[in-house]
């Protein structure tokens, strides 16, 4: 699944929150969206996953304008892990995963054995079979993310949109979740907070600052000492890992800019 945005803008009464953002995700690519807090990452993603209508510009998924698709058709193309997921109600993990079938069912259809098999399969895939009958709200952050990834899998969409999937997770679970996402091989775009995660896992990055893309390319091209200093206002030393060639960042908080 290919995703493309064209000159996306979102404007509040006072100012542009997102301005002129054109980006793309190629088949099978994991694309990272980085930038300081308030740079417009979430707003941009909400326009991509068809919840926020852009002031101008457009989003296409495999060439289809997403706003000309119904919510249902769109949901069969992209699955979303949003930051706030309100599944605070007493649903079991299995019920949450089964919700991934929503866009595939008509009101008159019952859940079929095939649906339930997909749910079991997805839970196995993310290693959450043992969580199936637990109440979703009582799971830990990492467990919740795994269950939501399972939901995305049962949605059988070609594109994953992730808003800070590693937020509030311990380091170990950050890697676990990112490894899992990487291993799916689905095209994906993820807003990411931690630069070392973005550097290690993403094929390409877009750096967003004040609603605009200020740098894009491979992690090595985007994550330089200069761009980090300009966007995050922190001095850093960046070197490329001798084996992987991926950038590693040492922050130097004691050094003045």
């Amino acid at each position: 699944m290919k995703l493309q945005t064209q000159a996306l803008c979102w404007q509040s009464a006072a100012a542009y929150i997102v301005r002129d953002v054109s980006l793309h995700v190629a088949e099978g690519e994991l694309v990272g969206l980085i930038g300081p807090n308030g740079s417009g990452k979430s707003t941009l993603l909400r326009m991509i996953y068809r919840v926020l209508q852009p002031t101008s510009g457009g989003v296409t998924a495999d060439g289809h304008d997403i706003w000309r698709l119904s919510a249902r058709d769109n949901a069969r193309r992209m699955a979303v892990l949003a930051q706030e997921d309100g599944s605070e109600f007493g649903f079991s993990a299995r019920e949450v995963v089964l919700m991934g079938r929503t866009p595939h069912k008509t009101p008159f259809e019952r859940d079929s054995e095939a649906d339930l098999a997909l749910v079991d399969q997805a839970l196995r895939r993310v290693g959450a079979t043992h969580l199936a009958d637990r109440t979703f709200a009582t799971l830990s952050g990492g467990e919740k993310q795994r269950v939501l990834i399972a939901r995305a899998l049962t949605q059988q969409a070609g594109l994953l949109v992730l808003d800070e999937p590693t937020n509030h997770l311990d380091v170990r679970y950050q890697f676990e979740i990112m490894n899992l996402i990487r291993s799916l091989g689905t095209s994906a775009i993820a807003a990411l907070h931690e630069l070392h995660i973005a550097a290690h896992y993403c094929d390409r990055l877009y750096l967003l600052q004040a609603g605009q893309i200020v740098a894009h390319g491979t992690p090595a091209q985007v994550l330089t000492a200069e761009t980090i200093a300009a966007a995050y206002r922190v001095r850093a030393h960046v070197h490329l890992h001798p084996h992987s060639g991926k950038p590693r960042i040492d922050f130097l908080p004691d050094d003045p800019l």
Partner: protein, 367 residues
């Protein structure tokens, strides 16, 4: 490998076990409903045996299709009490209880707040204003016997629309504003109802309206049952088709939307169905509070949040509940009768306090 062989190969699913449990639960609740209907009819100033209840009912039903069956040794007085007085009333209690429970379930999902019920969102108050206008001014005279229902529906819908518009901001529905707006509009409309009642200059009206505001099933006739029955069946069937959408809505608007639910359209139609059901129920029974609040909670404790299960179970529990509360209203201060709404309030208030005390705002309030 086909899907079914895949399932056969996997360990027996708890999910399927859950389905069997569900069937069992629905069967036992239906049985309980039948027992409740029977025994609640036997209770009252005149004792009537359960057997007589069924003999009279089956005899009458048989007569309707031209059969002469179950000719027992009951008296005409017993026949009149069962067929003309108690049976329609008990059936209406069941219909209204079921309807209010279903409305409560739906509203709680719509606004993602376990405190929502037709009372809280001003819908009942709107229905009351509409109905009181009909009683006091003879409004909607063209609708004949349905004027009261039509007035209540119009009032409920108007209140719903007002609350909806208040809560709408830049294309999004804000749940906190929905609740606060509902409370505000509810108070205004209660004021309007009282004003109309006191200034209409009809002494009997004040009494009629008072009983009715408190919620009462007294004096139910067979002709009162048709509209609520049709509305309940049609409304609940439609809601059952929306079960997946309701589940998704409970997880939040963005999530629902990314799961393929057209949230704006679904919510709009839910508003319409909720207004219709509330209007029809309020028109026949007055404003009976707390049923729409308590029954969904009790149901979720039993079967979780999934609406495919919550809707039918809450309907049955609501029906059983209101049948018995109405029995209390009939017999506890006999020969005087207390409006049933007073008893639902007396039970509902402490129920909620108990929930708070247990620190367990069930399935819905988060932690």
């Amino acid at each position: 490998m086909s899907a079914s062989s895949f399932v056969a190969a996997s360990p027996p699913s708890l999910f399927l076990a859950q389905r069997q449990r569900m069937t069992l639960l629905l069967t036992s609740l239906s049985g309980l409903l039948l027992l409740s209907l029977t025994f609640s009819i036997t209770m009252g100033p005149v004792d009537i045996s359960p057997a007589a209840v069924w003999q009279i009912t089956l005899h009458k039903l048989g007569a309707l299709v031209g059969l002469d069956i179950m000719r027992g040794d009951w008296t005409t007085a017993q026949y009149n009490i069962v067929w003309l007085i108690r049976l329609p009333r008990v059936l209406l209690a069941a219909l209204v209880g079921a309807g209010l429970a279903v409305v409560g379930v739906t509203m709680q999902a719509m606004v993602r707040n376990p405190l929502a019920d037709p009372y809280l969102l001003g819908v009942s108050s709107g229905a009351s204003v509409g109905a009181v206008c009909v009683l006091a001014y003879g409004a909607l005279g063209f609708a004949g016997g349905y004027a009261l229902s039509l007035g209540a529906f119009a009032g409920a819908l108007a209140a719903c629309v007002a609350v909806y518009l208040l809560a709408h901001s830049s294309g999004r529905l804000l749940a906190p504003r929905l609740i606060l707006g509902g409370v505000a509009i509810g108070y205004c409309l209660s004021g309007v109802t009282s004003l109309i009642t006191l200034t209409a200059g009809q002494r009997e009206l004040a009494n009629a309206v008072l009983t009715w505001i408190l919620g009462s099933l007294a004096g139910t006739q067979w002709s009162d049952l048709g509209l609520p029955a049709v509305a309940l069946i049609a409304g609940t069937l439609w809601l059952a088709l929306q079960a997946r959408a309701l589940n998704a809505l409970l997880s939040g608007d963005d999530t629902a939307s990314t799961l393929g639910v057209d949230t704006t359209r679904v919510r709009r139609s839910l508003f319409l169905v909720v207004s219709l059901l509330t209007g029809v129920m309020v028109a026949v029974s007055g404003a009976i509070g707390f049923v729409g609040l308590m029954i969904p909670h009790i149901t979720r404790m039993l079967v979780g949040c999934e609406h495919g299960r919550v809707l039918p179970v809450s309907m049955l529990i609501g029906a059983i509940f209101l049948i018995w509360v109405d029995v209390l209203a009939r017999i506890s201060f006999a020969p005087a009768e207390v409006p049933v709404g007073i008893f639902t309030a007396l039970l509902g208030g402490p129920f909620f306090v108990w929930l708070l005390y247990r620190q367990r705002l069930p399935a819905g309030m988060g932690q």
